[in-house]
Symmetry: C2
Subunit: 253 residues, 2 copies
């Protein structure tokens, strides 16, 4: 009995951002494993067993998937966005690394997807037009000092920064601390966007500045984008400016 | 006459990584503009005019698209990967910013796509499982000193680094200079991957270390991935290890 695991990126939400590869695989799997919010996006069908689980049990979920694959199942582990970006691909491989030898022989395939920073960038214009960093603000798995060190390094390099996992009910404070730090590192006029649930019915985009931003706008479904020194707005007649980080960078800037 | 511009991400290459949104829009546009290699992926059809252009004329291409949209055309500007990541979204908005006032009133929509670092990550396992940076090595539009500063900052923050545009026929040297610098900043044992043309028939992945890597492996179709200090390999019986940057980071590491 040889099973398989597909680690599937569902994209930011809407069906039009789900890759045909992921759609096809979702039709083939015998078992689907993931956080409730993500497996809820998948329509039930005969032959498919759906195993929803709570948030923050990524390793349990991964081990369950690996056990099912060892018993011959074709298992889909679903993530929102891209499974390789702060999502299930790393959790599955951490479980493999620390699990029984036979798990290393399993066929495990990662299917990429559109990630939240890309959906946010598309709505805003071209904020990621220059070099950029992606940082998860969750300190569940790494020390807060490392996050501070990375925010400082990102400013030293004048990168645009995409902040993932900015806040949750259990972690309301980190985004305030991050903004307090960023305000010492970047000009108050730096463009900042809170892009919530992009592509979903409750999408909400707030465009502001580092000086004026209310970090309380961020929740688990929000991607926070912080501009570089070259990031700026292009005014438009409809009042919704584009956000642009140009590709060029003048020497001495 | 009101036209529109869609800035379309074609993804890394194969049709199964093209979003349904992009596919649907490709059926609607009257004009397609892009680098020859990208427009060549689109099948001709009645009612569609294809305007291929050479590489490195992104602003001319953008202005052409804007003029066509002003004359009422529905224009698709195509990029490989994600148009927001080192691709055409920023070029179109730079042209808007410096063009006639009426261009600012045009309807311009960016359609995200899977970017090269995501396709590479999917093949390798989970190299982007921690915080990461994306840096374009092209110094056509920014000074080399800025690229050096960003490589240093990325190492200060212990980010995984995805290097875009590592080399071209006109710029064979930068990737050698980048590796020379990186070798002073990160351990020789750091995992490095050269992921070329992922998803296309000529896909080739070379997994090596910073100490042993041959930078000459990089070309225009290559995404180079440099690990963080926590990035490591997981051996597998088939001899093709997974690359993992775990989500966790021990204090003091």
């Amino acid at each position: 009995m040889t099973g398989k695991i597909f680690v599937i990126g569902l994209g930011p939400g809407p069906a039009h951002w789900l890759t045909p590869e992921a759609s096809a695989v979702l039709e083939q799997v015998t078992d689907l494993i993931g956080y409730f919010s993500y497996v809820d996006r998948i329509a039930p069908r005969p032959g498919l067993t759906i195993h929803g689980s709570d948030n923050r049990v990524e390793l349990d979920r991964s081990r369950h998937a690996l056990e099912l694959a060892c018993s011959g199942k074709i298992v889909g582990v679903v993530s929102g966005g891209d499974p390789g970006v702060f999502a299930m691909a790393a959790a599955v491989l951490e479980a493999v690394e620390n699990g029984p030898e036979e798990w290393r022989g399993l066929d495990i395939e990662v299917l990429p997807g559109v990630s939240a920073m890309q959906a946010a960038a598309a709505r805003l214009g071209a904020p990621l037009g220059g070099d950029f960093c992606a940082i998860s603000l969750s300190d569940n798995l790494k020390p807060w000092e490392l996050i501070e060190r990375r925010l400082k390094a990102a400013s030293d390099g004048d990168f645009v920064v995409a902040l993932y996992n900015p806040a949750s009910k259990a972690r309301p404070k980190q985004i305030f601390d991050a903004f307090a730090l960023l305000r010492t590192l970047r000009p108050a006029s730096t463009p900042v966007a809170f892009a919530r649930a992009v592509g979903r019915p409750d999408e909400r985009i707030v465009l502001t500045t580092l000086g004026e931003a209310d970090p309380g706008l961020a929740d688990m479904s929000t991607l926070v984008m912080i501009g570089a020194t070259t990031t700026h707005l292009i005014a438009r007649p409809d009042g919704r400016p584009f956000v642009l980080t140009p590709r060029f960078y003048e020497a001495g800037q």
